[in-house]
Amino acid sequence: MKKDIIVSIEGLVNRFGKQIVHDGVSFTVKRGEIIGIVGGSGSGKSVLLKSIVGLRKPDAGEVTIEGKAIGDITPAESAALFGVLFQQGALFSSMTVANNIMLPLREHTDLPEKEQRMIAQLKIAMVGLPPETGAKYPAELSGGMVKRASLARALALDPDILFLDEPTSGLDPMAASAFDQLVKELNQSLGATIVMVTHDLDSLFGVCDRAAIIVDKKIVIDTLPKLLKNKQPWIQEYFHGPRGRAAAMASKEKSHGNG
């Protein structure tokens, strides 16, 4: 029961007018793993994520989460099932960080205010923010803190799946690797399944178990060592360009050091 399938995407097609972005994308996500979605600019990574979480109705194909078609999942169910970290954080600017985190609690549970506040404070601590962040407004936070606060909101209801849209974009290398570490920790301690769109080769090699690559409007999904040997030209170039090689080397050294 540990490694069963939690998200499955079947024959997904997305097009904008005449331009086809996805042409029959199919893959599955196993419970508890971290998947990185990668692809060139404009290859439709964010569109894919939006179709998976039901924010965009695909032109064809089906997405099922926990065996349920995404269209049949009620708002309350989806809130309990998955959390989304948007690229810009999407924190509600008129509310403090604590109130941002409490919003889903207020909407979907009948916990008293005091408990909600405590849970918000717990999530703030879990994502590694200092306690006084709760009283601040999003405008007062730095880029890295916004991402963390937004992750805390995504975690509010302890969902089974976390979707992260470019979690490390716009962060400096130190903040980015700290965020990668956080994602890994949450995956281990909460057992949460994580699907992240990323541009960042370091976080792809650092945290992801498998990578889903969008090439030619389709998905190639595999573990990283196998993808490194893949002969598809775009994938070759992606992983064997200077940056790809450096990131692969770094991750190899790290695993050797640990092992």
Binding site: D110, L122, M126, D158
Partner: protein, 368 residues
């Protein structure tokens, strides 16, 4: 094994055995049950191996019970150990909230802030006026700086696109005025004076005033939003770095365009207002259209028309200035665009009405 829904406590043996789900949705119920079970003779340990689901909120509750009742939490799953480690690590000490200031102090501080803000915006307005004059005279001297295409574009946006709404509005205002005039004047037997009422009020006040209010809502707000968005996206900074004065390309074309279009729109509103008055006179007091026109020519002098028209460029200047100032005031965030746009429309309409009142006093003293 399928997870049993809900949450139950098994007290059969010495220990408390928890079953089912202990997550955010069940934590309230679990808390009550556990406190009850723990209130009597305290068991040695809480056994959570039977739980099918435990989340951070559940772990937090168990940890609090552990501390409060000095009871052991027994479990065999390594992932629970990770979860407890995570919750234990969390530093949840809340900083003490600051004491709120007394109401009178807040009120006084608010008054002070507003006074300073008013003073600053008065200075800003004056500075803007000066800059507009300087830039305009420079543009006249070297017409290259006049940005003719931009002016034309804004004339299209603020003027030509506004014709349908302005003319319809003017017609309807005349209809309303005619109805009210007839209703009030008929008991006195003076319903023929309705023509005077409609013609004079449309020409002197209603035409220009309502057009200005409509344009403030339509174009003043657009100016603020357009410039504001450019500020948010750092386009205004980019202009400056390239060596182009934002004032020259963003403000002047809009200002000049509106000073040209508002009088023209006012003229159209006047025509449509008089036309509407004519149609209503035909229906309400049975005056043929030709005699209505004859009457208008007698009662309304050129002065009445000019009194209305002379105000139009002044209002245009106010609306464009206020719109652009608020656009330039936008800072950083997207919500400040919304705030400034609202403020721009409110201030523009307020200024237009205030200036109109001043004009009325002035014309009265001059005897026009």
């Amino acid at each position: 094994m399928v997870a049993a829904p809900g949450f139950t406590i098994d007290t059969a043996s010495g220990n408390l055995r928890l079953r089912g789900t202990l997550d955010i949705y069940h934590v309230q119920q679990a808390k009550q049950q556990l406190e009850q079970a723990l209130a009597g003779n305290a068991p040695a340990a809480i056994d959570i191996s039977g739980l099918s689901r435990l989340d951070t909120v559940g772990a937090l509750l168990l940890r609090q019970l552990e501390e409060k009742h000095r009871i052991k939490i027994a479990h065999s799953k390594p992932e629970y150990a990770e979860l407890f480690k995570l919750v234990a690590k969390a530093d949840m000490t809340l900083p003490k909230p600051k004491k709120p200031k007394p109401a009178w102090k807040k009120w006084l501080m608010g008054l002070g802030k507003q006074t300073v803000a008013f003073y600053q915006s008065a200075i800003e307005f004056t500075a803007f006026l000066g800059q507009a004059c300087v830039t305009f005279s420079r543009s006249v001297l070297s017409p290259k700086h006049l940005r003719f295409t931009d002016i034309m574009h804004h004339i299209g946006e603020t003027g030509i696109d506004a014709i349908p709404i302005i003319t319809t509005m003017a017609f309807m205002i005349a209809v309303v005025l005619a109805y009210q005039g007839v209703a009030q004047l008929r008991p006195l037997g003076a319903e023929n004076l309705t023509v005077n009422l409609v013609a004079i009020s449309v020409l002197r006040e209603m035409g220009v005033l309502l057009t200005a209010i409509m344009v403030a809502g339509r174009s003043g707000s657009a100016f603020t939003a357009q410039i504001g968005v450019m500020k948010v996206r750092e386009e205004v900074d980019a202009l400056q770095v390239i060596g182009i004065k934002p004032f020259e390309v963003l403000v002047m074309p809009r200002l000049i365009a509106l000073i040209i279009t508002l009088p023209l729109l006012t003229f159209m509103a006047d025509i449509m207002g008089l036309f509407g008055g004519g149609i209503m006179s035909m229906h309400l007091i049975d005056i043929p259209f030709s005699s209505y026109m004859e009457r208008v020519r007698v009662v309304a002098h050129g002065d009445d028309f000019l009194v209305g028209m002379i105000k139009a460029p002044v209002f245009a200047f106010l609306i464009a200035t206020v719109g652009c100032i608020h656009g330039m005031r936008v800072s950083g965030s997207a919500e400040s665009v919304g705030r400034e746009t609202t403020a721009s429309v409110v201030n523009a309409i307020f200024l237009v009405l205030g200036t109109d009142a001043l004009f009325s006093v002035l014309f009265e003293k001059m005897g026009i």
